[in-house]
């Protein structure tokens, strides 16, 4: 397993800071929440040479975190950065700036770029680009199949050597079950988990909105929940058969939650993630034909939202993400059925979840919320991140859990503004983001600039 340790200890792809003199830090008076180590108390955090250290360093910069929560850097394992190929929507530079503003120190980018991430050279290109331009760590997910075409396996082993952290054909779910089985078996050899966008094309073809009362009212082709659930069930069967983790992306339906819960009871390594839009909005919002409510899978019903919330509260769904999918305004300002799927979300997701799950619904604690953004994603993808253990990279997020603020899309750092969260007010906000001990975003900076 030499390749695995190499991957784990390889330098992450993050902006080039070798030239900067490494500063030491003392983060004092903050409420430290580090789920990986069970820490939940006021204590100092020390940083030296870009790592967390246990002893107070000499000549350190002092950060007063009084009234703030000090958390391990947040991780979003489902992000579209659009480079290479679609830099009019987003770039690695702009996308990771938005990530930093959302409190993220690490993101996992999806392989549906142009060209797609289906070979080691594209992985290297992204890593190199990230090294030069990114504000936060960028980890790559590689494709399952060549060109995400669902026909032939991509060179998963070579991509593993280059440092991909998972494989997925996100957006282009592999329809051939036999091929999917081989992909899982093959990826297992490299310890690479599978991320799957669960969508059965024969049930979903042409669907642009949740199938139900609103698809019928609006006269638009429906995307039925069973189109997701059938593949969730497929993945459960294959995960059991291959004894290898499969992570179901952006769960949207009650039936999916139930199936994952039942499979987990049988110790099958299946997991699921949730995006904010799937619990903030129902398909009724599509009635205005606003393409900022067009996502894949689609936003669904109250019943589905209730089930997803239950899945988060009982631990069935233990990863939160954005599925940040930027599109230029000219691409979204078209007929609903002709618009691309997807919305941006890096800058709003943490606040949205904090507001809904911690404050309003009181479904989980802030500590648990932080675990869903650090411990579990790091564990799933074997990332050496998401903890404040001594020796770990000094990726740190400072949070004001009670700060009320209103998001305005004009102020977004993303190049695209296709968000349904415009003008929404949330309780809880990240105020400072540090990667490797360096501040990559701060609220004050942003507000006074």
């Amino acid at each position: 397993m030499a390749w695995l340790s190499e991957r784990l200890f390889s330098t992450p792809a993050v902006g080039d800071r070798q030239s900067i003199v490494e500063k030491s830090l003392k983060i004092l008076n903050g409420h430290v929440i580090d789920p990986a180590n069970g820490v939940d108390r006021v204590c100092p955090v020390y940083v030296k040479d870009g790592r967390i250290v246990s002893h107070e360093p000499n000549e350190a910069e002092r950060i007063d975190a009084n009234g703030l929560v000090v958390a391990p850097g947040l991780i979003d394992i489902h992000v579209h950065l659009r480079e290479p190929g679609q830099s009019h929507k987003e770039t690695i530079a702009s996308g990771t700036r938005a990530a930093a503003a959302g409190g993220f120190t690490s993101v996992v980018c999806m392989p549906n770029t142009f060209p797609s991430v289906d070979n080691p050279s594209i992985v290297s290109w992204i890593q190199e680009r990230a090294r030069r331009t990114a504000s936060v760590n960028v980890f790559c997910a590689g494709a399952i199949t060549k060109g995400l075409m669902g026909q032939e396996l991509a060179p998963i082993g070579s991509m593993a050597e280059t440092g991909i952290v998972a494989i997925t054909d996100d957006g282009f779910c592999v329809q051939n079950h036999g091929l999917m089985r081989r992909a899982i078996e093959y990826a297992r050899m490299f310890g690479l988990p599978i991320l799957d966008h669960c969508q059965d094309n024969s049930l979903v073809l042409g669907g642009v909105i949740n199938e139900g009362e609103w698809s019928v009212r609006l006269g638009m082709q429906g995307w039925p929940s069973v189109g997701e659930e059938l593949v969730v069930e497929r993945d459960i069967l294959l995960s059991e058969l291959c004894r290898h983790p499969i992570h179901c992306q952006h769960i949207s339906s009650a039936g999916s939650v139930r199936r994952i819960r039942e499979a987990q009871k049988r110790k099958i390594p299946i997991s699921g993630e949730v995006c904010p839009h799937h619990i903030f909005f129902t398909d009724e919002r599509v009635a205005g034909f606003d393409t900022c409510f067009k996502t894949n899978p689609p936003i669904r019903s109250e019943k589905d939202i209730a089930a997803i919330l239950e899945g988060i509260s009982d631990g069935t769904l233990n990863i939160l993400c954005s599925d940040h999918a930027p599109h230029a305004s000219f691409e979204k300002e078209v007929e609903f059925d002709q618009a691309p799927f997807g919305i941006t979300g890096l800058e709003t997701e943490f606040s949205a979840f904090c507001d809904l799950l911690v404050h309003r619904k009181r479904i989980i604690s802030l500590k648990r919320l932080i675990a869903l953004y650090t411990l579990y994603p790091a564990r799933l993808l074997h990332l050496d991140r998401g903890t404040l253990s001594p020796g770990a990279f000094a990726d740190i997020t400072l949070i004001d859990p009670n700060l009320e603020w209103t998001f305005h899309k004009q102020e977004s750092l993303s190049m695209s503004h296709n968000t349904p969260f415009d003008n929404m007010t949330f309780c809880g906000r990240v105020v400072r983001t540090l990667v490797g001990g360096h501040t990559v975003w701060m609220l004050e900076d942003n507000e006074t600039s």
């Binding site: 009362e213 019928v216 009212r217 006269g219 000219f330 059925d337």
Partner: protein, 318 residues
């Protein structure tokens, strides 16, 4: 004209019963005017109406054109092939350029649900939806409602059956919104694949058997089977469809003598309805076409009647 406050007509779903009745009454007034006297209502004198038909439909386009001419408007017909849509220009850009040419009213036929609403959002011109995908076709809904009202003298408590491809039908949706709001009792009839139970949320009943409604219905509105919308299999064959849902002579004989047979056209004789029934005494298919003119005149009068400049200023105000 206090009732009508909209610059556009996008859908019937959002209109109140009062607004629907306003349009129906206006249509009645226009139908009563003889051709030569209509020119004494030059509401749209000096205004330009653009018939923008991205999806072709000669009948509806001509109906709007005649209505506009009766109100004194200038009419420009634009098709998808003439516009820059084919060259990759977006609908929004095309519409903005039409408005730059001082179009006061744009009548849009488009294959995508919500297209008319999209235009209305960006334009100060009035936008009239002449059919957007499978969403709505408000003037068809109005003319069907008008025809029923004219023939039966009321809509309240009438039993109306809409038969056929409901799922893909914008005509059905606009009909349902109007009829339910004005008190008729609507039953949808068709194969379960084309009449999903979710329609019940719109206040209608559903049956998959023609026999359930024949003797009791006051109106039988037969929809066109839209093969072009059905990229997948919704029923096994035309033959089987006719045997289950076609208005054959035998079935027509069981209808009440007062029952109206309607069809939005164009009629595919021998499929949705037998030829003799289409031409029979109960059929009001040709009157629907005539009423289309009255209804569209009423709609253009309502939406374009006020001062466009005034409405433009209003929407520009911060």
């Amino acid at each position: 004209m206090n009732v009508w406050k909209h610059k556009d007509l996008i859908s019937l779903s959002g209109l109140s019963a009062e607004e629907l009745w306003f349009l129906l009454e206006a249509a009645k007034a226009f139908k009563g005017l003889r051709g030569d006297r209509v020119n004494s209502v030059p509401t749209l004198q000096g205004k330009a109406l653009v018939n923008f038909f991205v999806e072709p439909s000669t009948r509806t386009r001509i109906s709007f054109e005649l209505a506009a001419l009766r109100l004194g408007a200038n009419v420009i017909n634009v098709s998808a092939t003439m516009s820059s849509l084919q060259k990759g220009e977006t609908l929004k850009d095309t519409a903005l350029s039409l408005e730059a040419l001082h179009a006061d009213i744009i009548v849009l036929r488009h294959g995508s649900a919500g297209a008319a609403q999209l235009l209305a959002k960006y334009l100060r011109s009035s936008v009239i939806n002449a059919g957007d995908g499978a969403h709505e076709h408000p003037t068809q809904g109005l003319l069907d409602g008008f025809t029923i009202w004219e023939k039966h003298g009321r809509l309240e408590d009438l039993r109306v059956a809409i038969v056929g491809d409901i799922l893909f039908s914008r005509v059905a949706r606009s009909n349902i919104h109007l009829l339910v709001k004005l008190g008729a009792k609507v039953t949808l009839v068709g194969p379960s694949t084309l009449v999903p139970r979710e329609f019940e949320a719109m206040g209608v009943r559903i049956t998959h058997r023609m026999e359930d409604i024949l003797e009791t219905t006051d109106v039988l509105n037969l929809l066109r089977i839209q093969y072009e919308r059905q990229c997948r299999e919704y029923f096994p064959s035309v033959k089987e469809y006719i045997s289950l849902f076609g208005l054959t002579k035998q079935r027509a004989a069981r209808l009440k003598s007062s029952c109206l047979v309607m069809h939005p056209g164009p009629v595919k004789r021998g499929i949705e309805v037998d030829s003799e029934v289409a031409d029979g005494a109960k059929s009001v298919i040709l009157e629907q076409v005539a009423n289309g003119l009255a209804v569209r005149t009423a709609v253009l009068y309502a939406c374009g009647g006020g001062s466009a400049e005034y409405r433009g200023k209003k929407s520009e105000d911060p």
